[in-house]
């Protein structure tokens, strides 16, 4: 609902004082949403998938920027491999690689971002979220396990 995929039956969700229903694409440009599914195509290469997801956001980063995002996600060596040949964890990292591009969107909504990640990747993601928060960004994420981010100033809703 916060991402705008579903609409509230009552009330409104506001971004910087404005109802997100009226902001439409202007709100979408402020948002990075990583859902539960990887949002990558098995038949496209790692690099192609990243380029497509950025173009959907209306962004066209230069090749070095894409390479740098893939390096950060630990996928540079597999950049020309079809995404279908990646492990679950690598596909997750491919989705998360979008978060490393500059300029970052101020609002991150991440659905179970730590799923399928190994220890080094979890550490990388924790660092990414911490860095985002330090620069004044907002990160909203769900997790069913300890993330190592509990010490940060935040609001935790335990369900």
């Amino acid at each position: 609902m916060i991402s705008g995929l579903s609409r509230p039956e009552r009330g409104a969700i506001r971004w910087r004082g404005e109802d997100i229903r009226h902001l439409n694409e202007d709100y979408a440009c402020q948002l990075s949403y990583i859902g539960h599914a990887p949002a990558s195509k098995a038949e496209l290469s790692v690099r192609e998938n990243l380029v497509v997801s950025l173009a959907l956001q209306g962004r066209q980063p230069a090749a070095p920027e894409i390479d740098s995002a893939l390096r950060a996600a630990g996928l540079y060596a597999r950049r020309d491999v079809a995404a279908g040949l990646l492990s679950q964890g690598q596909r997750r990292r491919l989705a998360l690689a979008r978060l490393t591009l500059r300029p970052p969107t101020p609002l991150w909504i991440l659905d179970e971002p730590f799923n399928a990640l190994d220890a080094p990747a979890r550490e990388w993601l924790s660092g990414l979220i911490q860095g985002h928060l330090r620069t004044g960004g907002i990160a909203i994420f769900t997790s069913h396990e300890q993330t190592g981010l509990e010490a940060l100033p935040q609001q935790v809703i335990a369900l």
Partner: protein, 226 residues
């Protein structure tokens, strides 16, 4: 239209064409279906040339229509399953523009091969060159409407169990005017009558579909995924 929007549209178009090429079996499947269906009629009916010429426009149009319908359930289903559709809905580009690109890719990947094959199929029915020319032109005008209207149905039924059947029930009645105009144009061409009116009618339908169908598809997708 702004440059990032055009960039996103071009990216979706090239992505879907690349996917269609890498999953060639889907495209080839629709084409083989079209060839088989159109070839069955001359084999199963009276081989009288006059009869074959008379039924040719209807048979080729119905086969093209069903071949298009065959590919529609997959238009959004895979994007829905792998989460790409969520990214479309949250893209910084208006959803109707992205869906227009997606539908264009569907038409290029599915219907254009049918249109290119149609003259060969028409030869089986003994259609003269002038009627074949008309057939190709009305298919070029009519098949994009099939893709555009089909996208609305595919969007409404995304994620629904038994989507293919529901889609056929929803969309086939909407295809009737295109079938009537398309087949009648070829029939009139065979009789030596003018066909400009059919071109104008199909052209007008195409313009309306290009402007309205992507917005309807976007609304249908938002309803289906809410």
């Amino acid at each position: 239209m702004k440059q990032p929007e055009l960039r996103a549209m071009a990216c979706v178009l090239s992505r879907d064409l690349r996917l269609a090429w890498r999953r060639r079996t889907d495209t080839i499947g629709a084409l083989v279906f079209f060839i088989i269906v159109t070839s069955l009629f001359p084999l199963g009916l009276d081989p009288d040339p006059a009869t074959l010429r008379e039924i040719a426009p209807g048979v080729i149009w119905v086969a093209a229509l069903l071949a298009t319908l065959l590919t529609l359930p997959k238009l959004f289903a895979e994007d829905h399953a792998d989460g790409t559709l969520e990214q479309f809905l949250l893209a910084g580009t208006p959803l109707p523009l992205l869906l227009l690109s997606k539908t264009a890719a569907h038409w290029l990947g599915t219907a254009v091969p049918l249109v290119l094959t149609a003259p060969l199929m028409a030869l089986q029915f003994g259609l003269p060159a002038a009627a074949i020319g008309t057939l190709v032109l009305v298919l070029l005008l009519g098949t994009p409407i099939l893709s555009l209207l089909g996208a609305v149905g595919a969007a409404l039924t995304v994620g629904v169990r038994g989507a293919a059947t529901l889609l056929a029930i929803l969309i086939l009645p909407l295809y009737i005017p295109i079938l009537i105009f398309g087949a009648a144009a070829v029939g009139d061409s065979l009789s030596g009558m003018p066909v400009d009116g059919y071109y104008a009618a199909l052209g007008a339908m195409l313009v309306l579909a290009v402007f309205l169908a992507p917005w309807a598809s976007a609304a249908a997708l938002r309803i289906a995924l809410d």
